[in-house]
């Protein structure tokens, strides 16, 4: 090795990827890790295999009562079976053994990598122990009744809004829409990026967002009215429109609350305290059932729902903006004023752009909360086509007396919120790592 190589080697940080850790295992630690993973595999695969062998649902004759025949019968049988009990018992014993073995040996591992592997395996092995114990306890309860009420999984598929065959038939159209959206989004972003001389990353993000958006749009187009997909659509429209109103109005309110003049500050504070101090469900009911009909404003319930959600979000986001703006050093606005910018120019070009970057993660959090809060608009009498996820779930429950509908609603919310929560996490991580911009 030449001197130059030696210097270069010394300046690159040591790579400690999974390959490194794999090289620094002992025979015991490697076997232990495998055992930890294997116990998990045994528990999950075993449970699914047993349940699958009994079946997940079945078709009942239309005139059969729920007691005579329920679509959930095979699942209930599987859950109560001795086969499943055996799988669960073995999982508990094996899991406990691996966990205990880990506890007593991790200190003797010669390398940090080996020790970490043993600790991880031990923790991993406790997971099937707890889950299997839970399922064992569940076996001793009234599984039949629970399954009849909550586990008619076919209901969710039936009420999704788009039958599988229709979906396959329409797939070319949907993919076409998706492609058009993706291309347009990428094209527009590319033009903007070229104009502002930014990196390539925003184009990729826009393309993916466009493709996904087009796909979702295509599916929504063929969905039938009282269904989970329609419910998701309405949940998204309600929260999206509410957010547009709320985030805009919130910024104005925030600026008002920071005014040095009490006559500007006070009305904004009263507004914020009112909307933060009363329950959202009261605000929705009061506007929809009381105020709007009484004043003959002639707004339909859907518009009222969006307005109240937006006005409510404005109050909460105003506090977030205010915190963001006040977190900036005083010197920023002083510097802006000393070069001759007016107060509004200082806000517009110096303070707000910096504050917005800081408050994007908390604002996204408010948005996730808003998505869930759309459930409260179900107190308004929305039409079938306007119902959001919770309203849909309740409708389906009331027409079928099948509580699995609630499960469908929950699934719909998770499909929307989990990507949002992921985005918040990613944005927060990027901001923490010192990058001030969100994209690019």
């Amino acid at each position: 090795m030449t001197t130059a190589d030696a210097t270069a080697a010394a300046t690159t940080p040591p790579q400690r990827g999974w390959r490194y850790h794999l090289r620094h295992q002992t025979r015991w630690s490697r076997g232990h890790l495998l055992a930890g993973v294997a116990v998990n595999l045994f528990f999950f695969a075993g449970t699914i295999a047993v349940l699958s062998s009994y079946g997940w649902s079945r078709v009942c004759p239309p005139d059969a009562t729920r007691i005579e025949c329920s679509p959930s019968d095979p699942l209930a049988l599987g859950l109560q079976s001795a086969d499943l009990r055996l799988v669960l018992q073995i999982s508990i014993v094996l899991g406990a053994m691996v966990a205990l073995a880990g506890v007593f040996t991790y200190r003797r591992m010669p390398t940090r990598s080996a020790r970490e592997a043993v600790i991880n395996a031990a923790v991993l092995a406790t997971q099937p122990v707890f889950l299997a114990a839970l399922l064992l306890w569940f076996q001793g309860t009234d599984v039949d009744r629970f399954a009849r009420n909550f586990l008619n999984l076919s209901l969710i598929g039936r009420k999704a809004g788009v039958a599988w065959d229709d979906f396959m038939a329409e797939l070319p159209t949907i993919l076409g829409t998706s492609l058009v959206w993706g291309t347009v989004a990428a094209g527009l972003t590319a033009a903007y990026v070229y104009w502002r001389k930014l990196g390539r990353r925003p184009i990729v993000i826009a393309a993916i967002a466009g493709l996904a958006g087009g796909f979702i749009w295509g599916v929504v187009q063929i969905a039938k009215a009282p269904s989970f997909i329609k419910g998701m659509q309405n949940t998204l429209v309600l929260s999206g429109a509410g957010a547009a109103l709320g985030f805009g109005l919130g910024l104005v309110l925030a600026l008002f609350t920071m005014s040095k003049r009490a006559v500007v500050r006070t009305p904004a504070r009263i507004y914020i305290n009112f909307f933060r101090g009363t329950p959202l469900i009261w605000q929705i009911s009061f506007a929809g059932i009381g105020l709007v009909p009484a004043l003959r404003l002639g707004l339909d319930m859907y518009t009222i729902a969006i307005l109240v959600l937006g006005l409510n979000l404005a109050a909460y986001s105003a506090e977030v903006y205010r915190a963001g703006i006040q977190s900036l050093e005083r010197g920023q606005i002083e510097a802006a004023r000393t070069v001759g910018l007016t107060y509004f120019q200082s806000m517009r070009y110096v303070v707000v752009p910096q504050a917005i970057r800081r408050v994007i993660p908390p604002l996204l959090n408010e948005f996730v909360i808003l998505i869930k809060d759309t459930a409260l608009v179900s107190v308004l009498g929305l039409t079938v086509a306007e119902k959001e996820l919770l309203g849909i779930g309740r409708d389906i429950y009331q027409s079928t007396f099948d509580a699995t509908a609630w499960l469908g609603s929950a699934l719909g919310y998770l499909i929307i919120t989990i990507p949002m929560i992921r985005i918040v996490t990613i944005v927060e991580r990027r901001m923490r790592s010192g990058l001030t911009s969100v994209i690019g």
């Binding site: 010197g331 510097a335 004023r337 001759g340 120019q345 752009p353 910096q354």
Partner: protein, 246 residues
């Protein structure tokens, strides 16, 4: 210019922060081209004095005149006045979301309404002036403290001000970076810029200042030629302070 030939004139300035009487009757005139250096122990009101000159702090009592107009008059357009008075801060206060170029051109575009080309040309000129021509598209976070402070000076100079206010501009810098900033200020003084400088750099005060002001407890204790004051201070408090810092 004011009626008495000065560019900046303070008359009977008092400033209270709550019950804290920070400035206790300051009278001060600064002639065009003068470099007035203000020294004094911390808490003596030096920075507050400087900040009343461009009305970042409104004096509780007293009048401030700048270039023939009373700017403490409520009818004065302070935004317009401030375009003729540059200020540089201890903490630089560059806008972190804008490049060096963006920092300098912002006010040129939005206040002076220059075209983008004119603004960028002027920004380049000022960056050359402070020796940072090659840093035009860097972000403030990518610069050293000394470089950031020079950009802040360029940002102020780009407005072509009649006077510059410097508020402890080297106090937040590492010792080895102080020199490059003082160098820029020295050149600015030699070019005839009217300057008011609050500083702890006694060497700079002696060498560059045309007039030295020693403040304590919100009053001007001693006022005169820097060399003379450093060599032979007249007041006991000045003597005590100089003994401590020199």
């Amino acid at each position: 210019m004011n009626s008495d030939g000065s560019l900046i004139r303070l008359e009977g300035i008092h400033k209270w922060f709550g019950d804290n009487h920070v400035l206790r009757g300051i009278d001060l005139s600064i002639t065009p081209g003068g470099v007035v250096v203000v020294i004094g122990p911390s808490g003596s009101g030096k920075s507050t004095l400087l900040r009343t000159i461009n009305m970042l702090e409104e004096p509780t009592e007293g009048k401030v005149f700048f270039d023939g107009a009373e700017i403490t008059d409520i009818r004065t357009d302070l935004d317009e006045v401030r375009t003729h008075m540059g200020m540089v801060f201890q903490q630089f206060n560059l806008f972190p979301h804008l490049t060096v170029m963006g920092n300098i051109t912002l006010a040129l575009l939005k206040v002076l309404k220059l075209t983008k080309e004119q603004a960028e040309e002027r920004a380049r000129e000022e960056l050359n002036h402070v020796g940072l021509a090659e840093k035009d598209f860097a972000y403030p976070s990518q610069l050293s403290g000394g470089q950031q402070q020079r950009v802040a000076i360029a940002r102020a100079l780009a407005m072509r001000p009649k006077a510059m206010l410097f508020d402890e501009v080297t106090s937040a810098l590492d010792p080895e970076l102080v020199g490059e900033v003082l160098q820029v200020m020295r050149r600015l003084a030699s070019e005839g810029m009217t300057m008011a400088v609050v500083t702890h750099e006694m060497g700079f005060a002696r060498e560059v200042g045309t007039r030295l002001i020693f403040m304590d407890h919100g009053t001007i204790v001693e006022d005169g030629d820097p060399r003379q004051i450093f060599a032979d201070p007249q007041q006991e408090r000045t003597k005590a302070f100089l003994r401590q810092v020199l």
